[in-house]
């Protein structure tokens, strides 16, 4: 393809089909077919040649945004727990929905959520099924007020349909729901969402909501799709059987199920926390832009996120270790016993630190839960506003708090080393 053709498209030679189409769209608006027939044909020919070349000889690298193309934000990559970067599929303005699996044990990439299989339905959709689907799609029961028997009946009929018509009905229902969430002026408000809550609770078990692929199939505009998932996650109680749900201890005998949405909402508002979380998930080196103290001990960093109960447990563990090591140093016990006490002190310290590090992301999720609940449950579901609320809910720890932490935290951190030294000393002297 000649330089002139690329010049016509106003584009540096590329094999990225999406970029070619974007360039064509941009140039077409200056070369309208009714004003400039020849120019239009030339532009069209240039585009078709460029696209043909791109098809024949696809780019070897995974689609990298070109220099002239606006960078594609890639939040999904940051979340992917897999170590090896996989080639990103070509995504044109599709909503990127992140998947987050807060279970530390699981380092394999999470499987895509499988659609709920309703076993009563036949596999093959016949004409009658489609006719039925049509009828149902056109007779959606009211969703916003008093959704009851009508909707239950509608859902019962929908779930008997084969997969494909059911998928489309699901999309139709989602679109209707999304419309019902909006005020006449287009705002999404908690009042409207609350009005559809009964309907959503009825429909969720039938379709296995919240499912991100369902929202994608409903082909809502990209921004709205992410919002829709978020709203569904907020309204629907997390499913304890869902592997993406974490049960968080919330008092004696109480386990609070937390959906991944809660954690995500929190992490979205805390880039640093996100970075550390990532590092923990991947067992990768912790990024540099983390507070030095957090590098020293993950549990300190948990304290920074106001897990005061955890902090107390951690400190107790450390003081215990300190006490034991002092016992060994001061010569209260003699001979082999001193060595045992010293080792015990070391074990308690390592255990406390290790357990905190091990559970750090659960601690994080717990913090996430509280922040998300504070931020999300009131008022407007606009993403921007939500982020602002999250930021407000997590005031950074002030200098005095840090000093306090340093005072209480640094000593126990240092003492185990003292214990270690005295143990070595004692062993040396004993010989």
């Amino acid at each position: 393809m000649t330089d002139a053709a690329w010049a016509l498209l106003d584009l540096a030679p590329t094999r990225d089909a999406a970029a070619i189409r974007r360039a064509y769209a941009r140039r077409l608006k200056q070369t309208r077919p009714d004003d400039d027939p020849e120019g239009f044909q030339a532009l069209l020919a240039a585009r078709d040649r460029a696209l043909a070349e791109a098809r024949r000889d696809p780019p070897d690298e995974p689609a990298e945004p070109g220099d002239d193309a606006p960078p594609v934000p890639e939040p999904a990559a940051a979340f992917s727990p897999a170590a090896a970067p996989e080639p990103a599929p070509e995504v044109i303005a599709a909503p990127v929905v992140r998947d987050l699996d807060p279970q530390v044990e699981d380092v394999t990439p999470p499987e895509p959520p499988s659609p709920v299989v309703v076993d009563v339905a036949p596999l093959e959709a016949g004409g009658a099924d489609w006719a039925q689907a049509f009828h149902l799609a056109e007779h959606l029961p009211p969703l916003d007020r008093g959704a009851g028997d009508d909707l239950a009946d509608w859902l019962a009929r929908a779930r008997r349909l084969p997969h494909e018509p059911r998928r489309d009905l699901e999309a139709a229902l989602l679109q209707a729901l999304f419309a019902a969430w909006r005020e006449p002026d287009g705002r999404l408000t908690a009042r409207r969402v609350a009005a559809t809550r009964p309907a959503l609770l009825l429909a969720a078990p039938v379709f296995g909501w919240p499912r991100e692929d369902a929202v994608l199939a409903a082909s809502l505009p990209p921004g709205d799709a992410a919002l829709a998932v978020q709203v569904m996650r907020d309204v629907l109680p997390p499913d304890p059987d869902d592997p993406a749900t974490v049960l968080v201890w919330a008092g004696p005998g109480t386990r609070l199920p937390l959906g991944s949405g809660d954690a995500r909402a929190f992490l979205d508002g805390h880039p640093r926390a996100l970075a550390v979380y990532e590092a923990l998930r991947r067992r990768a080196p912790v990024p540099r832009r983390v507070p030095v103290l957090a590098l020293l001990a993950p549990h300190l960093w948990a304290i920074a996120h106001r897990r005061w109960g955890t902090a107390l447990a951690v400190l107790s563990g450390l003081w215990l270790s300190f006490g034991l090591s002092v016992l060994a140093t001061e010569g209260e016990v003699e001979g082999v016993a001193a060595g045992v006490v010293g080792l015990l002190a070391l074990a308690v310290w390592i255990g406390t630190a290790g357990a905190t590090a091990w559970w750090a992301d659960r601690i994080l999720v717990g913090g996430a839960a509280r922040a998300a609940r504070r931020a999300g449950r009131k008022g407007v579901y606009a993403p921007g506003e939500r982020a602002a609320r999250l930021r407000k809910a997590s005031v950074p720890i002030g200098i005095w708090n840090w000093l306090l932490l340093a005072w209480f935290g640094a000593f126990p951190l240092l003492f185990p080393y003292a214990g270690l030294i005295s143990l070595a000393d004692r062993l040396a002297r004993g010989r």
């Binding site: 769209a25 077409l28 044109i92």
Partner: protein, 566 residues
């Protein structure tokens, strides 16, 4: 000065205007967005258009004509009453005139221009006939837009969604499929296919055949036109009834006897199988031509009144494996799209970021002879513009002489997909003279230029002499300039029924149709109501008149309901 978009349909026409908020439909004199494409002559010689004329189809079949869009571009002449005959262009012009009057009354300004939609498969001659109709109506029209493209425009501007969309447009008389790609404000028509002789009317005719068979009569020339119109009317009502119910009962007065019957949806669908089968070929062609697979489609949009039929919807769902998106208003979406095109043409600011590119839906070419020296020399089609090329497009091809000392090349222009020119539509012929020379020595370049309105210009240049012949086709079926002027004058002299009377006339015509259909007591009932209405309307004025009309219409609705039970 406004630019409006007009959908000149087979059964109904509509007009819409572009506003910054989007296309807005223009109501007619009766206050409805749809004006039936029916023209009738009243007893006093004035011309009735729209609802009033449609109601008279059953009572005055010899003075009323419908579905004349199907004759556009042919020499067919409709006779109305005694002595008055109209060409399809003129009948269309009368509908356009009525739409123009409605638009001017509604907008309060004169019209600067109009954009008219035509079926994508309309050929050059039919497009010219449509332009002639506009000219006869005194409506300046520079731009024609293909109906499925218009529907897609309305859909694209309205939804602002991106992706590949298939528009399935089954109107009253034509079937069109368009495959579009929407991205970054560009609406690119990738392929168009269709069937010019397949539409909702065919389904009505099918039902009429079923009803006639049930009642033991033959639906042929022997049946008086009035009875025939009545059967079609009942068939239409049954068709609409079957959309909502699995079985529809009807009652019809035929051969002086009231007959009753019922049609079940299953039976109708079984009988419609051959028609449904014909829907497949254009769908397949559009998909193949666009190079898309079924899985690449992001949506199927149903347009046109006939797509309300459940049988069509379930067919589309089965073929595409998904529920089609049904446009909220399948009857008027084409008019709205034409208004969007009008807005594009006027360069409205709201449409600044929108560009539409269309395609030429059929192959255009010339007849050539290959292997002239062998015995089996036959003429074949040489395609110059292949179907679904983006328009405006200009392509050239060189042809040479095949005989020694040949002095003349006849460039015959055809439209169609067949290899044999005879099977294609002949558009015209350009004879050019060439100097005497050995076979193959003289070359002529044939250039086809197809513009955004679907007008074809052919230019033949003889290379050795530099002679150029340029021709825009108007063949025998089209009117020539002098004729056009004469007809324009004649049409201007015809008086359309006054606008303010339109509503009364429509109601009266409906009452007359009802009267013809009913018998006995009910009939007297109608006659009484008519007399009362006529008395009341002469005395009433303004708001009172509206009340009188509403009451009369409600009476008629009640009487009508009595006849059809769904």
């Amino acid at each position: 000065m406004a630019i409006i978009g007009i959908d000149l349909g087979t059964t109904n026409s509509a007009a819409a205007v572009w506003t910054p908020e989007g296309p807005r439909l223009i109501p007619n004199a009766v206050g409805e967005p749809l004006t039936p494409s029916v023209v009738g002559l009243d007893s006093d010689g004035s011309v009735l258009v729209g609802r009033a004329a449609r109601e008279r189809l059953a009572t005055h079949p010899e003075r009323t004509v419908a579905s004349f869009k199907r004759w556009m571009g042919s020499g067919h002449v409709a006779r109305l009453g005694r002595g008055q005959s109209f060409r399809p262009e003129e009948l269309s012009a009368l509908v356009l005139k009525s739409l123009k009057a409605d638009a001017e009354a509604h907008l309060g300004t004169a019209l600067a221009e109009a954009v008219i939609s035509v079926p994508a498969y309309f050929n050059d001659i039919q497009r010219k006939a449509t332009l002639d109709a506009a000219r006869l109506a005194g409506l300046p029209v520079e731009r024609l837009v293909n109906e499925p493209t218009a529907a897609a425009l309305a859909y694209g501007v309205e939804s602002r969604r991106e992706g590949a969309v298939l528009v399935f447009d089954l109107g009253g008389g034509t079937f069109d499929v368009s495959l579009l790609e929407l991205y970054e404000g560009v609406m690119e028509v990738r392929a168009t296919a269709g069937d010019v002789a397949l539409g909702g009317d065919d389904f009505t005719a099918l039902l009429a055949g079923l009803i006639a068979a049930d009642q033991g009569i033959a639906l042929d020339g022997a049946l008086p036109p009035g009875e025939r119109a009545r059967v079609l009317r009942v068939a239409e009502a049954v068709k609409r009834g079957l959309t909502g119910a699995p079985e529809t009962r009807y009652e019809i007065l035929l051969c002086d006897r009231v007959r009753q019957g019922a049609v079940a949806r299953a039976r109708f669908e079984e009988a419609a199988a051959p028609l449904l089968h014909r829907l497949r070929a254009p769908l397949e062609r559009a998909l193949t031509d666009s190079g898309k697979r079924l899985a690449d489609l992001d949506g199927v949009v149903l347009v046109g009144g006939a797509t309300r039929m459940p049988v069509i919807r379930s067919l589309v769902a089965r073929l595409f494996g998904r529920l089609p998106l049904v446009h909220v208003d399948p009857d008027t979406v084409v008019a709205q799209g034409a208004a969007v095109q009008a807005g594009l043409k006027a360069r409205h600011a709201a449409l600044d970021e929108v560009v539409m590119t269309d395609v030429c839906p059929f192959t255009l070419g010339i007849a050539v002879t290959e292997n002239a020296r062998t015995a089996a020399a036959t003429q074949v089609m040489l395609p110059i513009i292949e179907r679904n090329a983006a328009v405006p497009v200009s392509r050239a091809h060189a042809v040479t002489t095949i005989h020694d000392d040949q002095t003349r090349i006849a460039v015959q222009v055809f439209q169609g997909e067949s290899l044999r020119p005879d099977d294609n539509v002949a558009l015209g012929e350009i004879p050019v003279t060439v100097p005497k020379a050995p076979a193959g020595a003289e070359t002529a370049e044939v250039r086809f230029t197809y513009d955004i309105n679907g007008a074809l210009e052919v230019e033949v240049a003889v290379l050795s002499t530099g002679l150029r012949h340029r021709q825009v086709f108007r063949n025998g079926a089209n009117l020539d300039e002098a004729e056009l002027d004469a007809r324009f004058a004649a049409l201007a002299a015809i008086k359309l029924a006054p606008r303010d009377q339109a509503e009364n006339r429509a109601l009266l015509a409906r009452a007359e149709a009802l009267y013809a259909e009913l018998r006995g007591e009910m009939r007297q009932h109608v006659a009484e109501r008519v007399a009362r209405f006529e008395r009341a309307i002469t005395e009433a004025s303004g708001a009172d008149a509206a009340a009188v009309r509403a009451a009369f219409a409600a009476d008629l609705d009640r009487l009508d309901d009595h006849r059809f039970r769904f």
